[in-house]
Symmetry: D2
Subunit: 340 residues, 4 copies
């Protein structure tokens, strides 16, 4: 009954097998290997467009590298007040950009409201030398409350951002969970809506340590700079084939979507079971593999006594995370323990 | 006959096995897992002292993180002119320290001569507000010419550095190769000589992507800062157990030393065989797993025709690197090809 | 009728005279001159305590240098959402700290409400490696709405900040205006309340380009670091005596307080005269030398037609700034023009 | 007999007068004033070309701001080993660029030898992701040994630099002294030879605190970025008219050249008088207002006893600096004291 985080889960066996398969003889270093090339090709097919891809081993690195090519050191990145890049990356975006400002906007369900974005864009000028101008809008999909922006919600934010000249970054640490929720294509959730750079996370959904920074459209022209920043940050691994191998297996045969569906289904079952109990209510809509509930203290106590792992959230709720390997048994056991 | 780099070699099968063994159920994230703890314990035993350990996935990251806790942004790090941190890390030390200066000293065999270090220490004051004061001496062991500092050579550099108040960093990307060459204990080559922070590399000697930043003595007090910098740089992997597992296997049963001895032996055989030929001479003493030779163009041509992989070095020599899996067959084939 | 900013005003004639007096023969460079020493002595007397002083030529530099010794690059500075350091210094605090995060708190009259500060302190942990911990509370006195924190209001913010381990920075670009408003001693408005570092501005109140960063209590121990950062930022002027001379004259005979009282009086007269008109209301209390009003468009039009200079503020109000040399004639002319 | 530094000298009376003249009523802030515009116009005339100008108050700031628009954070700036930017600016270039590397080249008379520059350009690649590529060549004119590069010497360095794609920065803290030495036009010593950005210093030659960063040719397109960096660094003074006024007076009627000629003449007289003595020899050619000599200890002692101020230089020589106000009496007194 470990619902602490999807980062406590192991890797999928096929990911391990891919590592073993890749461990065969010599291979070019630093991303010049054929598996890295294959991952790029897979992603171009899946996203139905030409793109550039850079692989790394942590979502924090992926986000910070992406932001470093979108924002200058004296510019501003707009994000939600609860964004991972703002609260949970120890200032990595500030570090990698050389000092850009993260400008947080509050909002329910960890979503930025279009009116609030517009107000900030009106208040923070683009060409006043005294003020760090907004240059990037960063959106998390799934976001930090486990919610997915609907496509129309993305449009309502990306439209004004683009009109003001901002680039759009998507933190997709749980991209696959959002994607299967919306049931659209990867392209429809990203570049067709104006996303310039996507950080696609596999680590939380079955990989060991593998993330992809994907550049679309005009952003592709910044790939050489991105590579230089990757090297400078110590994220250009010598034996990159092992990162690529994880993604190669993860994308093959739509495993990434299958694992996301499994995790989402486990979370949905948990959300339904818990919220049906007296003394429990959902604190956020459950759009993916995370369940936020508010529950009476005795229920929380029973869960803890039964050994269920979950986190107390700063807002007073409790977060349960399902992963690709969360079994229905665990879900049922947790519901039963909560019921008492 | 791939002698391009030890980073083109695969991982040792026992490293892969350790990954598979670690892939069992849930484990705490971010280094709180039991395998990480075991690695720390192993290192404390091997180095015969209490220490702090931080794991990462690239040598560039390890070096830059280490330097970031030893030098302020307005201070100076002394290193050899050919040091990897100076030439081959795309400014990572400057990035992680927030702008420290790397002050290069030239010298034969990629070694700093004690007199040159003393001259720099005399010229660059410790307490003149206009000048970034030297605060760190960085030494590579093996160094970038494949040479190992003898213990007395280390003393001759570390002594004056310590007397001037500098901390000492050791870039040990090929530490194990130097260690078996000198035949001393890990403690004798590091903290007993005054090394404050060692970056111990496993990637080039049989791991997939695993390096350890080891803090000795008073430097241990900076461990919390090091962890914060690691997180900020995106190098605190969520599923850290997989990095730890590599080092755990690598250190077990002295495998790290066995692999280093094998690589060194292959290099020694190659050095001996090539240098016995007319038209070939060693450009550097061969102390570890790297062989630098100057050779006639026709010999180089024969090697290339035979498919031998090696790099032209900026100084006009050629570099051949042996790895843990370089076979004696490959060595003999290369010598035969060179002989023509 | 120039009410655009106190930075459009000239310097006081006695400041110019002090420059001429200082222009006599040779003097030690970089702050080792006797006038700089005299300024320090004057400030120690005025603030009734031992202190360290560093002189600079802009308020942005003063603030950013001060913050750079209070916050690490991976830490957080709490300020008001409208703070000058957040909106009007082009990211200077992020630059000088090496990437610290500025965490803005909204609040009426550009004041932070104690409850909001406490909520942020509760949400942002001090010792969670993933989150940049709050280390500094920055307060502006006068603040960006022209309001002064009362002493009790300062206590209600500084108390919880100190309890949480934060240092306190005061942006005193208009310190003298606030001081004469509160009628307390400099010590009572600063170190006796827990302020660690004060940026005392003279430029807006009669100097040409002169600001002082003043370290109190334990912060004094960071003076050497502050000097190094000053040099590194290009703010250690070779001929520092000319900056010191301005402050020397400005502090002599309480001229700084006299000029502040004059400016405040002009602003008060303007606030009273304008707010007495139909169609005008004060947008903020007038505590110092700034007047924020909301006024009907025809009134604004009449003012502009009459040549009155003022700024439209982002919130829809209009800002009028009185300086040390704003005459009562100008005030009366503006009121008359507004009245029509 | 103060020969310590030209920064210990006062400002010229006409500079003080210009400040007083500028102190008249209100003026736009932050460089939008008419005096700043006039300085730009003067410089365009003097340099016979269209240009952009940014004013600041210290040479360190001017240099670091200039370099910040020429080099990225992961790139390299080539300079002489004794360059002010390398040794005497506390890492300001590294700070302002966000971590660029300064790559020092040794050479007699503080001059870079063309062959050494070419060797570095050959060794440090432009497009290897692991190495911070050289992007800027920085030259000091006068340099740190008081020597001026002849025009042909400039060509021999700038040519290869340009061919390799580097921008050229000139540190002209003592530009006027070099200019009158060479007897050429400002244009001939700068943009006609390929200089992209000149830092023109007035502080050491009669101003109080005034330097100009001048952008030529294609570099002009980076002016908006330079202004943003200036603001971010706290160097965009609110009352910029007072910096402009100094330069306005300094350039008017060729005063800058007159003062430079006076200082150079004093230095030449000192160099001639001292070097004629037994036990004294020039350590460097005297091309401007600095005299470096090696002298017997008894001579140095007699000078000190007579109250002559000079500095012991790291290489064992002694530096005497003449300024615009160094009188022939002082020079003769020093020579007499040395003679004994």
């Amino acid at each position: 009954m470990n619902f602490l985080s999807d980062t406590t889960a192991p890797a999928h066996p096929l990911v391990l097998k891919a590592l073993a398969d890749a461990n065969d003889g010599f291979a070019p270093s630093y991303g010049a290997d054929p598996i890295t090339a294959r991952v790029r090709s897979r992603l171009a097919d899946l996203f139905e467009t030409d793109l550039e891809v850079l692989l790394t081993t942590s979502g924090t690195a992926a986000n910070a590298l992406a932001l470093s090519i979108l924002s200058g050191p004296d510019e501003t990145i707009i994000c939600h007040d609860e964004a991972h890049i703002h609260r949970d990356e120890r200032g990595a975006p500030e570090f990698f950009t050389g000092g850009a400002k993260l400008l947080p906007i509050k909002g329910a369900n960890a979503k930025i409201a279009p009116a609030d974005l517009k107000a900030v864009l009106a208040e923070w000028p683009q060409d006043f030398v005294h003020t760090p101008p907004p240059r990037v809008l960063s959106l998390s999909q799934l976001n930090e409350s486990g919610c997915a922006y609907a496509l129309a919600e993305l449009d309502a934010l990306i439209g004004p951002a683009k009109a003001a000249g901002l680039a759009v970054h998507m933190d997709g640490a749980r991209f696959s969970n959002a994607l299967v929720r919306l049931g659209c294509s990867p392209a429809d959730m990203t570049w067709r809506r104006g996303v310039d750079v996507l950080c696609l996370g596999a680590t939380k959904n079955g990989a060991m340590a593998a993330e992809a920074v994907i550049l679309f459209g005009a952003a592709k022209a910044r790939f050489a700079r991105l590579q230089a920043r990757q090297k400078r940050a110590g994220h250009m691994l010598p034996k990159m084939r092992y990162v690529a191998a994880q993604l190669d297996a993860w994308l093959a045969g739509d495993m990434w979507l299958t694992l996301a569906r499994d995790a989402n289904a486990a979370a949905a079952a948990l959300a339904q079971g818990l919220s049906a109990l007296d003394g429990v209510e959902l604190a956020q809509p459950c759009d993916g593999n995370e369940v936020f509930v508010r529950m009476d203290a005795d229920i929380a106590g029973r869960l803890q006594d039964a050994g269920a792992g979950f986190y107390a959230w700063p807002d007073g709720s409790a977060r349960f995370v399902a992963s690709w390997c969360t079994g229905i048994d665990d879900v049922e056991a947790a519901i039963a323990a909560a019921r008492g």
